[in-house]
């Protein structure tokens, strides 16, 4: 393959100034909300070991960028932020401070196979609340994600909430073994109703319960979940009570119209062990982010604690909020040798007043008119004029 001069590796993008500026604003707004909610920001390395983060991250193996270090160890470009943060939190330093609240704004890398244009490097912004297994922690991160979206002025954002563990228990109640449950999961993840209904007919489910089983796929509020809860199953009941309580907290925080409780909702990320959620907003055909409880991931780092969090995709948020580039105040001062002193003084003065000023030696510009057109105001300080 010959590589053209302007080509970039598959999925890599340049951020032009307009995008870079929007991103910087988004970062400032987002991280300040995160910090206000009591989270500390941290940064983890770009490179991690394949053996640890690479395997734990739940990102498909063929989506990892792999390389070798000088010792021959396989490294990966970090594919997500949750697992590195879990690693940091499980280390000695932070273990004694549980629960810890950590936030991040970082780029992650996922190799793309389909249609070149999809980004293989993108920024994520999110939080992890580690060491708290109460439902208040789940509610906290959902409300925080909601607040970020609200601050960004994203219209009709919607959260879809499911519960991995509760769903697992209910599926077991239908007499399914783990292999069958996984098939059902796959249909749920891709919301393949047609596939699910034909699968349901092949599974060993009592004919009298078939209709109820198929109904699993079409719930939208917590109360509907009740019909599958076995009143004699203590675990199911306590999880269900938690969900009802969570709903109460979220309703109280003004999210009542923004949430769909879909019992069949599920993530392809296998490390989620409890509540899972995904975030959508008008203006993007793709989800804006997702989150949930991942107690199992912490266990892999040798820590038996609860953890929950979310990550939002900055590129998708940007797609929604950056529709119109606004005209900003930007002054151009064109000068030549004669106007030099005056121009430098003027630039200094204006900048001190908070005006954005570009100072340009006029003879160096090839097309004065086109170049001037990029600015809201032009001052010419040339001796000849």
């Amino acid at each position: 393959m010959t590589i053209q001069m302007f080509e970039k590796p598959l999925g890599m993008r340049d951020d032009f100034p307009f995008i870079a500026k929007k991103k910087a604003e988004l970062r400032t707004n987002g991280t300040s909300i995160i910090q206000q909610a009591g989270y500390d920001l941290l940064q983890t390395p770009t490179l991690e070991y394949y053996e640890t983060i690479g395997k734990i991250s739940a990102i498909a193996d063929n989506a990892l960028f792999k390389l070798l270090d000088s010792q021959g160890e396989t490294l990966v470009l970090r594919p997500d932020m949750t697992s590195p943060i879990a690693r940091v939190a499980a280390s000695k330093l932070l273990k004694e401070k549980m629960p810890v609240r950590l936030g991040y704004y970082s780029n992650v890398f996922r190799a793309q196979k389909r249609e070149g244009g999809r980004p293989a490097e993108f920024e994520q912004m999110g939080v992890e609340l580690i060491g708290d297994d109460s439902l208040y922690a789940d509610a906290e991160v959902i409300i925080l994600a909601w607040n970020i979206l609200k601050n960004l002025n994203i219209k009709s954002s919607r959260f879809v909430i499911g519960h991995t563990q509760l769903l697992q228990l209910i599926l077991q109640d239908f007499g399914l073994d783990q292999e069958q449950i996984e098939k059902v999961h796959a249909a749920f993840v891709s919301k393949n109703s047609v596939g699910f209904e034909s699968l349901a007919k092949q599974l060993p489910i009592e004919p009298s319960r078939l209709e109820s089983f198929i109904g699993l796929m079409s719930t939208s509020n917590v109360e509907e979940w009740q019909q599958w809860i076995d009143p004699h199953n203590a675990k199911q009941n306590s999880l269900f009570e938690d969900m009802k309580k969570l709903k109460k907290i979220l309703d109280r925080s003004g999210l009542s119209d923004a949430i769909t409780y879909d019992l069949s909702f599920n993530s392809h990320m296998t490390y989620y062990t409890g509540l899972v959620f995904e975030v959508y907003g008008a203006g993007s055909g793709f989800s804006l982010g997702n989150g949930g409880r991942y107690d199992g991931l912490m266990k892999q780092f040798g820590l038996q604690v609860g953890a929950t969090g979310f990550g939002l995709r900055v590129d998708r948020l940007l797609e929604i909020i950056s529709a119109v580039p606004e005209q900003e105040n930007h002054t151009l001062i064109l000068f030549d040798e004669q106007g030099e002193d005056q121009a430098f003084d003027e630039a200094q003065k204006l900048r001190e007043q908070g005006v954005r000023v570009t100072l340009q030696f006029a003879p160096a510009v090839l097309a004065i008119d086109e170049f001037s057109g990029l600015f809201s105001k032009v001052l010419r300080m040339e001796g000849a004029n």
Partner: protein, 208 residues
């Protein structure tokens, strides 16, 4: 009422699906006079139809420029797109099968298969443990075995008439195909009420 954009394949599937929607009680314009139009509005229902190539419907839906769409299962198997498959409409029923000249075994040295569905074909033969070379063609697939380009073809069969007319016979059936109602995941959540209502109405009409 949320505006709904529906991507539809041009031609027969569009007509069948349109009829299905009318039967389901949707107030759509009676006459579709200009068949070359790419966008058809149904203002009474706040619905807009986008007419595209059948192969492209899932792409429109995946990117969310269409909220829902009608796509053949064959297209969905060939192009793995992130869309929700909500309903089997039971229309445009056919199947994908292998076919070739009568009584001819596969070439043992270099078995070749011509198809419009390289992914489906490759998956099928790999699943059987057969190593074949896949040749992707865009049309007149039947020609391939007749002129010796391939031993087998993998293609859509609805009546079997085209095969017969070209002296080919069907060997193995691979998978049944019908048209499906698909949805963009975000639209499905943001316009859930409207979309589920449509699914329920169509479910009653669908012949399955």
């Amino acid at each position: 009422m949320d505006a709904l954009t529906i991507a539809m394949p041009k031609g027969r599937i569009f007509e069948e699906a349109y009829e299905l929607l009318v039967k389901a009680g949707y107030d759509l314009p009676k006459e579709l006079d200009d068949s070359r139009k790419l966008i058809v509005e149904a203002p009474n229902e706040n619905i807009r139809f986008i007419l595209s190539k059948p192969m492209d419907v899932p792409a429109y839906v995946e990117h969310g420029v269409a909220d829902i769409g009608i796509a053949g299962k064959d297209v969905m198997l060939e192009h793995d797109r992130d869309v929700y498959e909500l309903l089997d409409l039971g229309i445009s029923r056919c199947y994908i099968a292998t076919a070739g000249m009568p009584d001819t075994p596969m070439n043992e040295v270099t078995p070749r298969v011509a198809t419009k569905y390289p992914k489906v074909a490759s998956q099928y033969y790999r699943g059987k443990g057969e190593q074949v070379e896949i040749i992707e063609l865009n049309g007149s697939i039947e020609l391939a075995p007749m002129i010796g380009l391939a031993d087998r073809i993998v293609d859509i069969v609805s009546t079997g008439k085209t095969l017969k007319e070209n002296g080919l016979v069907e060997y193995e059936k691979i998978v049944d195909i019908t048209s499906r109602l698909i949805a963009n995941p975000v639209s499905y959540r943001l316009k859930q009420k409207r979309i589920t209502e449509l699914v329920e109405k169509l479910r009653k009409q669908a012949s399955v």
